[in-house]
Structures are given as C-alpha cells and as structure tokens.
C-alpha cells in the first residue's frame, strides 16, 4: 500500500457501477462521505457510521462491505457497486426490486439500497433461502419502518419460495 499523508488529498481511481471513476480524498475520509459528498451518490445512505445498521452497504470487488467502515482510499483500483448496479440494462427495476414494490417492502426507503446490496450477494450464494435463513441474513440490517414482514415476503416471492 502506498504511503499516504494526513492532510493531503490523494487521487483515487476505481470502477463505480461499471464506470471508471476518479476523485480525491484525504486518507481519513470515509467511503460513505466520499460517495455522497464528493461524487453526489444519492443511493448511499448513512444511518449509524459504526457498522451496525447496514444502510451504507455496498459491494467492493464483489464483497459486501459497509461504506461507513471503509476509507475512500481503500477502494483505489477496485470495483465498487451500489444499488444503481442492480438496474437492468434497459433501465427500470430488477425483478427483485419489482418484488419489493409489489409487496410494499419499503416505506421511507432509507434502509433499502443497503438491503438490496446484501441480498444481491446473498442470493448469488443461496438462491433459495428458507424464511429462517433469510431472516437470519437480514438481521444485519435495521429497518425502522416496515417491521420486516414485507421485505421477507418480497424476497420469498422473488425466489419462488413463498409459502
């Protein structure tokens, strides 16, 4: 890792949702702050800045990560995917997103992009989770609006495991 100095804004380049992106950040700048305040990403939401709520969840080189526990400089040279990456090429909503809409799986929507990113990775590994498995995985995210019922319904319907 290159030597970084405190008050210097370092150049970083990475692939954001498939597009080459670059910017400058001090070593201590959080990835969440960098994406929202430097790049204007409206899909990145911060709820706790200590890794518990899951609102800031995104993928770095495919690995599900908390943007609030990552420094911007750490993604130099990497691939970062946020919820925009889920949209099908022709635009609109992915099937899972449609299922969220059909099942009223979101209210304020603040927690939603983070949950969708975790699900995106999780369903790659476990395409047909049981409800208990799904609830276990979702317990890494806090939602204060929905009571989780409709989030669970949306996913179960999407994976074709609805009761």
């Amino acid at each position: 890792m290159p030597q970084l100095s405190r008050d210097t804004r370092h150049a970083i380049s990475f692939t954001l949702n498939g597009k080459a992106t670059s910017g400058h950040a001090e070593p201590r700048m959080l990835l969440s702050d960098f994406l929202v305040h430097e790049l204007g990403m409206t899909s990145v939401h911060v709820g706790c800045e200590h890794g518990v709520c899951g609102a800031c969840t995104l993928r770095i080189d495919g690995t599900v990560s908390r943007a609030c526990l990552t420094f911007a400089v750490q993604v130099d040279g990497k691939r970062v995917d946020t919820v925009e990456s889920l949209s099908p090429e022709e635009g609109g909503l992915s099937d899972l997103q449609k299922s969220f809409r059909r099942n009223h799986g979101l209210q304020c929507g603040y927690c939603t992009p983070g949950i969708l990113m975790s699900l995106d990775a999780y369903l790659e590994e476990n395409p047909k989770p049981s409800e208990a498995e799904l609830r276990d995985m979702l317990s890494g995210h806090l939602c204060r609006c929905t009571g989780y019922v409709n989030i669970v319904r949306a996913v179960m319907e999407h994976v074709g495991n609805s009761p």
């Binding site: 700048m29 809409r101 939602c143 929905t146």
Partner: protein, 992 residues
C-alpha cells in the same frame, strides 16, 4: 368507451414513490444541493448530566486550519431568544447551553469549518471547565423535596400540576365493591429513524432572512418557535423539506433547535452552514418519549364492571420543556378512559424535569404510557376478581350503537363497534386454540401466557389540546382549537395534473394515496397524477397543523386534496358543458375524458378542457378565473377548544385496536418469545390497504422493541449508557414475528373519506399486550419494560446470587454501578522481568509505548500525568490521565489507581498488575475495575471490544519493540467484554 372508471381509493395500489427509492435516485436531506462555499458544523456536547460551565476556551480551536468560527452559548445569547414554551415558567433554553449544562449530550459549543472533519478536529481543541452538580435522574427522587433542581429559577422540578375531575369519581369509589390499584413505570425510549437530523441554513443579511433545508416534519406551530428564537417575522424564515425523509416517527420535530443553531451560525459566519447528526448524537441528544410513572386505581364491581378511574401521572420531560411538550399527557387527555364506558374519572398530571435529554414527539405520543397503565390494570382486575381477562375487557367496552359517543374527558368517539371487533378478532385469530395451546404448554411445565389489550387509537390532533394545561380563565382569553390542512390541484397547459400538499411525508406513501384520490375525482389513473410533496413555506400553503404527526394524513391532507380535486372537477365540468352542450351536473369523468352521463359518445378529452383554461381564457364562463389551480383547505368542526368543564375532543378520529398474543418464556434464559400475535384494527375506510397494513407492521415492530429491548438507560450520575445501535438494541428481522392482522372497517362519521389513523395503534397496544402475557405466564403482579432476559430471569429465579466461595470477582471501585467495568487480562513480553519493570517506570519509554500518548510526565515519586488520544466506536477524544502507583512489590506487582478526564467524560479506577518470569520472558497478568461517565459511557462494551483489543495489542507490541525483543503476544481471549478504558488503565498499570 367504458363508462365505469375503476376506483383507486381503497385499492392496494403500488406506490409511486418506490421506483426512485429502489434505484437510489431519491434525494434525502443530506443529498440536497447546498450553495458553493457552504460550511459544516460539529457540536461539542456536555459529558455531564448537571454542571456549571466554569469556563470555555475556544482560542486553540479557532486557530486550527479550516476552522472558520467557534461559538458558545454566550455568543448566541445576544443574537437570539430562548425557545418558546407552553408554560410561563423560567425554563430558558437557547440553541447552546448558557451557564449550565443539564443533560449528557446537551450542545455546548459549535465549531464551523470548511468540512465536517475539520469541524470535528476543532472540537478536540476546545477546553471546557465544568463544576459538576448532583443530577436529578430518578423521577420520584427528582420530584421529591430537596432534590437537585434542574432549573433554579423555577425552584422545583415539578413545573406544572393540574387536577381534573369528570363525573363523580369519589362516589364511584365509595360505592364500589372493591378498588384495584397498580403503579407502573414506563421506560424512556424512541423510534430512532435510520436517517438522523439534517439542517442546512443560509442567512441573507440583505433581507435579514433565513432559508432552511432540513428534514423537519412539522407541526408547523414550531415555525413560530424557530422564528421567535431567531428574532425574525415568519416570512423571514423559509423552511423547505424534501419529498423523501428517512423515517420520522415524530422524532424529527426535534430538528428545530438545530435549525436555530445553524441559522445563527450562518448569520455569524455570513455563509450557509450545514450539519448532519451522527448516531451517537441522535441517541444521546435528539429526543425521547417521556418516561412516566402512573398510579392508577379502578372502582370495580364484583362482576368486573369498572365504574371509575383515578390516575396520578408523573411524566418526565427531561431537562427542558421543548415544544410541543407536554403533548404526551394532553394529546391523550380526552380519551383517558380508553375503550371503556367509564363515566367517572379523576386525574392529576404532574410535569417533571430531570437531567435527561429533553422529550419530544415519538410515535404513539402519550398512548403507550397511558394504555400501559390502563390495560395492565384491567389485567389485574381480572386476576384479583378471578375473572377471565377477555371477559373483563368485553364487559367494559363502549357498547355498540352509541356512536358518536362523548367520553368522560371529552373525546368524541366517531364510530365503531368494539364488541363486534373483539369477537371477530377472537374468531379469526382462533383465541380458543391459543387457550388450549397455553393449557398444553403449562401441563408440560412450560412458562406460557396470554395477553390482551384493547385501545382506542386517536388521530389528527386538535391544535387546542395543550390549552388544557392552562387554567380556565387563561384559556378563555385565547381559545384554541381546530386543525387546518391544505392541498392544491394544479392542471397545467398540457393537461397534466399536479398536486402539492402540506403532509411532509417520511415513508408513509402519501404521494400514492393523493394520486389515488385525485385520479378518482378526475377519472384518471394514479400514474397520470404528478404529486410533489416538497414543501416550502415561502410558496406553499401551510398552517400550524401542517406536517406529519399524530396520524394526521388520512383525516386531514387527504381530505383537503379531495376537496381541491372536487373543485377542479367542478370547474372542468363547467368548461366542458359549453362544448358538449350538457349541464355540468350531467357530466361524468372517466378514462381521461369528460362525457355526458346519458350519452358517453358525447365526450371530450380532459386535457383539452384543462388546456383551454390556459390557452383560450376568453372562452371561459364569465365569472370563472383562468387556469386551473384549485386549493382545498379543511378544518373539522368537531375539533373545538376545551370547554368550561375541561372536556376536550383531543383528536378527530378514533380507531379501535384489540390485540391478543401468546408468549413463551425460556425458563433458563428468561428470553420472551412471541409465539402468536393477533392484532385487530378498525381504522375506518382504508384508502390503500397495502399501505395501512405496512403501518401496522411498522408500529408493531417498534412496539416489540419497546416491550423487549429498547430503553434509554441512564446511570445514577446521569451518564447516558447506550449511545450506539450496538447498545440501544433495535429489533431485527430475526426478533420481529409476523402478526396476524384482522380488519374491520367502520367508516368515520367526521371525515369525508371515512378514514381514520392507522400508524400508531400498535405502539399503544402491543407493549402492554406483551407485558400482560408475561404477567400471565409468570403469575407475577407487575413487570417493567423492556422485558430483557436478565429482568425476566430475576422474576423467575429471584435476584442473581453471589458467586460461590472461592470464585474471585474483579475489584470494583466505590459507588459501583452499571458503569463499572471490570475484567482481567494476560500478556507475554519476550524480555526479562527486570527490564519490563524498569521500562514501565520510565516515563520516556512509557510514552512511546502507550498508544495515542502525546506527553507523559512523572509528577511525583509514583505519580504520572499523561495526555492521550483514544478513539473507539464513534467517539474519539483527548484525555488527561493521572496515575498513582501503590502497593509496589518490585519487580513483581503493583496496584495503580487513577483517573482520566477529557471532553468526553471522566473515568476512575484501580487495577493490579503482576509480572512473572516465564520462558525467558515475562508474563503479565492484570485485573481492574473502572467507573466511566460522560459521553464515553454511552458506548457500551460490545462496540468497544474490538478497539480495546487493538489498543492492548499495540501496547504490548510497542513494549516488546522498545525493549528490543521479538514480537509480543497479544493477549488472547480476554476476560468479559472490556472497554478500552480498562485496557488502557490496566496497560498503564503494567509499568512497574
């Protein structure tokens, strides 16, 4: 052409909000553009619950790079006024503390810099000297004579006492077969939206006005509080809110003190200032629902009939009485008899101030506390009389056929059939089966209980409800009542329908519902209706009731939108009647066209009719105004000011909720598992059943949190103890079961759409329903929420027993409490014992070894002073450490005692370290007990575990390298979850 247009109101229409939210394009407050050059603020908060501010030195902070300004309460005092409150008591609060701090988390200094990081840097350079005072924390102690007083000028922590009597309670109690009594204590908690507060304010010196962008949620009666504090007229305070807010739940009213603070910061700096609240700030300093102690009594007959209630309510509002407090007591006032037909009632309301974060609106708004008292008492009545709990509820319900029904304290229950609802819930929820299930479980020796709760859910507050806190003569001078709502339907020149309104949504789907209502009126599809609920007080209609709170939407803004749409329809019909040669009253709207009812082929496109109002205004009927921009406003006549008998119809609509549940308690762990939950709602006509159900799910989930996990915990010194989401536990998908929802729809008689509120009922019914089930399972008289495993275990097994003989417990300092952290640890350094001992006594070596150490001096033979910066979880700060060594046994062991003080708090502790030669190196063992207070106490063990380990590892690695040896072994498997504090002190202790 099809003549019948599908109706959308009442359908589970998909939300128009969702596409933007699901794809991440929706803009929340933090995403809104601000002007170039906007500055960023960070707030230094009090680490003490109660202290005088002796001095504040901001000079070093001001000199730091990027720092533009640093302001204290004294600086703001000259340019602002204290916040208006409902009482005429000298409870003065400015945007920053003046003279004294009164709760942990109270804003003391604001630093404004070019970015947030630099603003936070500045905080660490501010020196504040406090003289701590004894705090008032426990509500009953705080209410007693001789308690420390939060506001000296008031002279007492009880700032208002009001007695109310309805009917003849004395006679009811005298004639009763018996009296059943209970005392309950409801905890302090909050709905904690996932998005915190955001406020960005730009002051314009030319017009002396403030432009505010924030996620404030109303009520806009608070606009007056802000403008008065800023000393401007209302037109010079422009408040803007976006379409999307990350949850509100009432909590986001309390953005307002920060709007004032950022406004003043902008005024002083001459630049826009933005602030984003972090989670620690939110949990410690945003707001909370008041905790409440209620002594409640019922006069009862032997058959279970309740003939009278007596309430004595002590409501704890924290350090200040911020608007709209004391809403939680008075918003529920008219409905104090709940769902029951009880004519005789007396109530004493006492408002208490303590050294805790000021209370505010939180979903349920007084209902959870009130129903906890009533519904717990009803369960006790059943137990004491040997009756079935369900039967006691049924017997006392307001009967069918008496609506509208005037409750004793003035609520006008608009509609319902409570007994039928009860029966429907029991049938569809299979109550009989549940009873069998309980019996079977009990026969097997398991702990299983059933709980019930029946409540009336009020919605749309009467703006006059707080008047009841004033004596009759005073409120006669200025009677207050009503609740005004506004919406606008605007059809543009191409015929597109646009709707704006005063609802300030936070996820409830208001855009969708308004699109349904307007679509039905105009014969269009919801997708044809463009709803924009950004609100701007400089341009949109608003009133004091504007906002999103008290389940106001369905019986207010939705009605205003319906009225606006009906006006637009009437206008379009008149214009179309000229073209179609049909009287307007004979025209129908459907599928985008306006047509003759008796001859659908005689029709015209709606957009053409609307367009003509713009393109050819000359052709409009003579008395008609051009364009189509129709405003609907509404204030329901039933919302009258309180009458001379202190009766008040405190809300407009009253839904009915009846819940029952089965819980099983794990005898070993004390864990409460909700086995089955049934919730019956009669919320009048449902405008969108899918959204209504979502509201029930959300309220239920929070209520499960309130019942089992959530409480803002304070130490007896006023330290705030759960400042992260790892400490303030919020239920996840794993903990929240799916409730069975049973619906009934008795339309409201007082709102044109027949709808009532639906979003708060379970916040009121569920906590007490679960508590009743736990009481039933354990056969105990009373319980206090949240029902955490340790509390429930204590109910099953008694208090925890002391450890058996021979099992050592770590030392605890005097005044041991929740905040005492104790533990033990071990490490190995590959250097000789003598060398390690010497290194630990050598200030220079030690300074190099302690992580984050800036300076370390020996100030006495065995006394050191150090300055260290340590961070863990969301807190980071600079501390001064003093350490005294004693009981020295060179080179084998020493005891150290010491203290760390800093802006984030204080800690004191003692520890013992021993050194033993082992394998050519030295093994170190230590134990310690430390008491923490201040901000850092809010960061609990779990959050700090990782940081603690890292610090200790660093310490030993550095020690090893200073001694020139190989790598040290980091201590493995530490003793009980340990704060870095103890680690650090324990580590310091090793130097001998």
């Amino acid at each position: 052409m099809s003549q019948t247009q599908e109706k959308y109101v009442g359908q589970p229409v998909e939300r128009v909000e969702d596409a933007a939210l699901l794809t991440g394009s929706a803009m929340f407050s933090d995403h809104l553009p601000t002007r170039t050059g906007t500055l960023h603020a960070a707030i230094l908060r009090s680490p003490h619950a109660h202290a005088e501010i002796a001095s504040i030195d901001v000079s070093a902070a001001k000199a730091m790079p990027g720092v533009v300004e640093v302001l204290t309460g004294e600086d703001l005092r000259d340019i602002s006024d204290p916040f208006l409150i409902v009482l005429r008591e000298p409870i003065l609060q400015w945007a920053l503390a003046v003279g004294k701090v009164r709760y942990v988390g109270e804003p003391v200094v604001i630093a404004i810099a070019t970015d947030r990081y630099r603003a936070e840097d500045a905080l660490s350079a501010i020196e504040v000297a406090y003289r701590t005072l004894k705090p008032a924390i426990d509500p009953e102690e705080a209410a007693a004579e001789g308690a420390p007083v939060v506001h000296e000028d008031v002279g007492s922590n009880i700032v208002s006492t009001r007695d109310f009597v309805y009917g003849d309670p004395d006679a009811a109690f005298a004639e009763a077969d018996r009296t059943v009594k209970l005392k309950i204590s409801y905890p302090r908690n909050s709905h904690t939206p996932i998005e915190g507060f955001v406020a960005a304010v730009a002051y314009d010196p030319a017009t002396e006005s403030y432009d505010v962008q924030s996620n404030f949620q109303g009520p806009y009666s608070t606009h007056t509080v802000i403008s008065k504090a800023l000393r401007v007229s209302s037109s010079k305070l422009r408040m803007r809110t976006p379409n999307f807010s990350g949850g509100g739940f009432g909590v986001k009213v309390q953005v307002f003190p920060y709007i004032v603070l950022m406004g003043l910061a902008s005024r002083v700096t001459g630049r826009p200032v933005k602030w984003i609240e972090d989670r620690l700030e939110h949990l410690s300093g945003a707001t909370a629902a008041p905790n409440r102690i209620v002594s409640i009594e019922a006069a009862v007959r032997n058959d279970g009939t309740i003939t009278g209630f007596r309430f004595d309510q002590l409501d704890d509002y924290g350090a200040f009485l911020r608007a709209p407090m004391p809403g939680p007591l008075y918003r529920m006032h008219g409905i104090l008899t709940g769902a029951y037909d009880v004519k005789n009632l007396s109530v004493t309301n006492r408002l208490l101030l303590t050294n805790k974060c000021p209370s505010g609106m939180v979903r349920g708004f007084g209902g959870p506390q009130m129903y906890y008292a009533i519904e717990r008492l009803v369960q006790r009545i059943a137990v004491e009389l040997g009756l079935d709990h369900y039967e006691v509820i049924r017997r006392n319900l307001v009967p069918a056929g008496v609506f509208p029904y005037r409750a004793a304290a003035g609520a006008l229950l608009d509609s319902g059939d409570y007994p039928a609802a009860l029966e429907k819930a029991a049938n569809e929820g299979k109550l009989e089966e549940l009873r069998k299930r309980r019996d079977e479980a009990r026969a097997e020796g398991r702990l299983y209980g059933i709980g019930y709760a029946a409540i009336v859910e009020p919605a749309q507050s009467n703006m006059g409800y707080l008047s009841n806190i004033l004596p009759l003569e005073e409120r006669r001078k200025n009677p207050k009542g009503g609740a005004v709502s506004n919406a606008t339907v605007n059809i543009d020149p191409l015929g597109t329908v646009n709707v704006t309104a005063d609802s300030i949504p936070q996820g409830q789907g208001h855009m969708t519902v308004l699109s349904q209502i307007v679509a039905d009126n105009l014969g269009l599809e919801p997708g044809d209706i463009h709803v924009n609920l950004e609100h701007d007080t400089a341009k949109d209609a608003w009133s004091i009731a504007t906002g999103n709170y008290s389940s106001r939407f369905t019986s207010s803004t939705a009605v205003a939108a319906d009225r606006a749409a009906k006006k637009a329809r009437a206008k379009l019909a008149r214009i179309a009647s000229q073209t179609l040669n049909v009287p307007p009253e004979n025209l129908e709207f459907g599928n985008g066209r306006i047509y003759a009812a008796d001859n659908p082929d005689n029709s015209i496109n709606l957009y053409r009719v609307a367009g003509s109002a713009h393109w050819t205004p000359g052709n409009l009927p003579d008395d008609m105004e051009p364009g189509i921009r129709e405003i609907g406003s509404w204030s329901p006549p039933e919302l009258e000011p309180p009458n001379d008998k202190d009766q008040i119809n405190s809300s407009l609509t009253y839904g009915f909720v009846f819940d029952f549940c089965g819980v099983e308690i794990d005898r070993d762990t004390g864990e409460v598992r909700i086995d089955k939950y049934v919730t019956m709602h009669d919320s009048g006509t449902l405008l969108n059943p899918k959204l209504a159900e979502g509201q029930v799910h959300g309220a239920f989930a929070w209520a499960v949190g309130c019942a089992l996990y959530e409480e803002f915990a304070y130490g007896e010194d006023g330290s705030f103890l759960n400042g992260t989401f790892a400490d303030y536990l919020v239920p996840t998908a794993w903990e929240v079961p799916e409730p069975q929802i049973v619906h009934m729809a008795t339309p409201s008689l007082v709102t044109p759409l027949g709808a009532k509120g639906v979003g708060e009922g379970n916040c009121m019914s569920t906590p007490v329903c679960i508590a009743n089930a736990v009481c039933d399972a354990l056969g105990v008289e009373n319980v206090t929420l949240p029902l955490s495993p340790d509390k429930v275990s204590a109910l099953i097994h008694g208090e925890e027993r002391p450890p058996p003989e021979g099992v050592e417990t770590p030392p605890a300092p005097k005044g041991a409490s929740d905040r005492v952290i104790a533990g033990t640890g071990e490490a190995f350094v590959p250097a000789a014992q003598e060398a390690v001992w010497d290194a630990l006594l050598d200030p220079e070596k030690l300074a190099a070894v302690i992580p984050g150490c800036h300076a370390l001096d020996r100030v006495g033979e065995n006394e050191y002073r150090a300055e260290v910066t340590v961070g863990a979880g969301p807190v980071k700060g600079r501390f001064k450490a003093t350490v005294i060594l004693s009981d020295m046994d060179p080179p084998n062991a020493a005891t150290l005692s010491g203290a760390l003080t800093g802006l984030l708090g204080l800690s004191e502790g003692t520890g013992r370290v021993t050194l033993t030669p082992r394998d050519g190196g030295t093994a170190l063992a230590y134990d310690y007990g430390i008491e923490v207070s201040g901000t850092v106490a809010a960061v609990g063990g779990r959050m700090l575990e990782g940081a603690a380990r890292a610090l200790v590892r660093q310490f030993f690695e550095r020690l090893a390298s200073v001694l020139g040896g190989g790598p040290a072994e980091a201590p493995e498997a530490d003793a009980p979850a340990a704060l870095w504090w103890r680690r650090l002190l324990a580590a310091l202790g090793i130097r001998r």
